[in-house]
Amino acid sequence: MNTLKYFSHPKFAMPNIFPTMPNQSLIIETDRGLFCPAGDFYIDAWKSVPRNIVTHAHSDHARRGSDRYLTASDGVNILRHRMGRDAVIDPIPYGQIIELNGVRVSLHPAGHVLGSSQIRIESAGEIWVISGDYKRQADPTCRAFEPVRCHTLITECTFGLPIFRWIDSSVVAADINAWWAGNQAVGRTSILLAYSLGKAQRVLAGLDANLGPILLHGAVHAITEAYRGSGIELPPAGYASVENAKLHRGKAMVIAPPSAMNSTWARKFAPFSSGVASGWMQVRGFRRRRGADRGFVLSDHVDFPALLETIEQTEADHIIATHGYTDALVKLMRERGKQSSALQTRFGGDEEESEETVETPVVEGEA
């Protein structure tokens, strides 16, 4: 693959300011993001860098402005949608190993959203895995997570507390369909708020299209098209236009990003009932604060039991926690005899400010 060689070409490499040392960490934190000194590349960089391996296209992981991106082939369409037409994106199939400055790098399914990856890095017999965002639940819109053995695991823990335990997604899908039918019975349109990349498509996949018309907010619509373009089969859905709102009043299911509720956008669907699909809906306090009529517990992040199980499966003896309730996980891992530490993310320490609540889609338009 030409592009891959290009990505790894020394001409595009930064001068190596971290000469290989024995016991040098394979991944370090820098003010631009996670950096692999030996391989001279960044992971999910939040500033412009020459070579950026992106775990997935969510806005807190994929930022515009890097010279070259490397991402899993499944996710190229979506990453392009978010990084812009001119971005240079090199695709790589899951499992294929490339060498960057002698460091062996491969991407493995993370089950988070379409094209999401864990990144496996191997140098001098030392193996690190960066989980990216991931989940272990079934999701028809992306490849399932595959545990990868490693010495050091950098894992997300957005929902890293034992109160977060997901119920089966099929049960949630049935609840959503029942809610939709219930709203139809009283003449209300259903507006389901779901993160526009990933969650929206997962929700869409679980809808019973026989119940009635499905409409998508502009932000959701664009990404859903990118999903279809990547070969993901989803129920037919229209555009949440004013005409469609009028035509299907009281019958339609509308999928929109959470930010849509703060705008006047939702008014054209009145009377409606609103629902939110998010892992935070597990807790009543969070549910109430969102102010929606219904909360559906549906997350694209790993829950606590599956997080512990994943750590076991990787056989890692060094656990680095990032994204969420890191302190608790680090303390628990240490109590269980593992080496463990926390990695700062750029979003401070507030557990609520994950991508599930801070909605920042790039394409946001009044539909």
């Binding site: 807790v283 969070f286 109430r288 604060r289 309730y325 608790a328 628990l332």
Partner: protein, 533 residues
Amino acid sequence: MKRFTALYFELDETTRTSEKIAALGRYFREAPPLDAAWAIFIVSGRKIGKAVSSRLLRQWAAEASGYPDWLVDQCYRVVGDLSETISLLVPTVADTNAPSLHEIVEERVRPLGSITQDSQREVILGTWSQLNTDERLVFHKLLSGNFRVGVSKQLLIRALAEVADVSSAVMAHRLAGQWMPDETTMDRLLARHDPAAVADSGTPYPFMLAHALHDGTSSLGAIADWLIEWKWDGIRAQLIRRAGQITLWSRGDEVVSGAFPEIIQAASALPEGTVLDGEIVAWNDETSKPEPFIRLQRRLNRQTVEMTFWPEVPVTFIAFDALEIDGADVRDRSLVERRAMLETSFPTTSTLRKSTPLHYETWDEVLHIMEEARSRGVEGIMLKRLASPYQPGRPTGLWWKLKVEPYTMDAVMIAAEPGRGRRAGLLTDYTFGVWDNGSLVPITKAYSGLTDVEIVEIDRFARRHTTGRHGPVHTIEPLMVFEIGFEAIQLSPRHKSGIALRFPQILRIRKDKKPAEADRLETMQELLRSMGY
């Protein structure tokens, strides 16, 4: 338990009254009678048993979940509600088949108070294994001895009245008094309307309520069309004498006869078939003025009052309307006529009085005497159209209330702690301080009166400016000034400042004020002295 849990979540997750009433109605129609009887008992706020120590619950939850205590505590800090935290932590056994509500209450919850700690543990762990997450939450609410689900007594009464097809007053009467749920409870509560039975009872009429007057007096027309009287600061009540029985009903549809035996005794002077509307007020005979409401509250908190307790807080019933005279319902007559009947219905005594109408020629004079309201110990002024019949609810244009503005002060936020329920996880309960010799002394706590947006903003601010923590309480850098309103001030040796405020409420954030510009304790002490303390 499944059905009751579904009801709990329906009630918990809607703020629409109509939906709450529909959910309650559905439940009462469908649930087995004994479960429904217990549900009424619980939702109306009656105690079903002694609360289990939350320390033990937490300990058993750690045990059952296999996680260390510190992790359970951290979960609690995030969730903000112990009942919910534990329900989320305890493992769920697949395909649970929950016992019925009455089994849970009668066989699990009620006996807990009289068994050993080991047996308690056995009962609770055993029950956990039979319930799913949501059912466990409701179980914990039953255990906590504090079951709140956002249903007022009036709402419950309305829902039951609809199911039984009787008036709310009849239902309120059926629900009143001491009773324990049994197989016959629902038959009694939902019995068909029996007019003869009601005539004999102490059933009150629905209260007529006033709107607050915001737009000034200009739209009211001629002052001669209005009856003007003080707005008493007490407990609105109907005093009923029928069939040799005397009953005192509060506006909360509660019989409060037991708390005010001297009023009941004085009411024996009323003729048969009399119903009076009025206000129970704590009264100081020496000053001939009402006492602060808080003194009355002390009386209310006791179920029955010993006769010897009377003189400590003397009370009086101030009648301002007559609804039934000589056994006849006179509510359709005009206020003028009803007042005339009131005047002749009983001789005034120190415990049974009549509200005296105030006479003024112009609206300006009325607004002027509002300034006296506070020193007279009243809440404000009532304006009632003389031609008005007595109508249930809050009809427009007939009765108006003019309340005195609350006192205000500027105080600095010095501490904050997380709220519960809807505000779980957010720092919403604030402590405010005023200046005393260069340092801030806590003067009051307050949390109501802010918008959701402001609450989130203050939460962010407080977290950024936390200087220390003691348990859930964050000490906050004193930077943010608030205007706090309150309705009364009194001496309190229990408080560090020596002062307690009644009904403190945040009026607004004073972004224009620096902390140094906040009020001083001295100013508050002066206010206290001006009140005669």
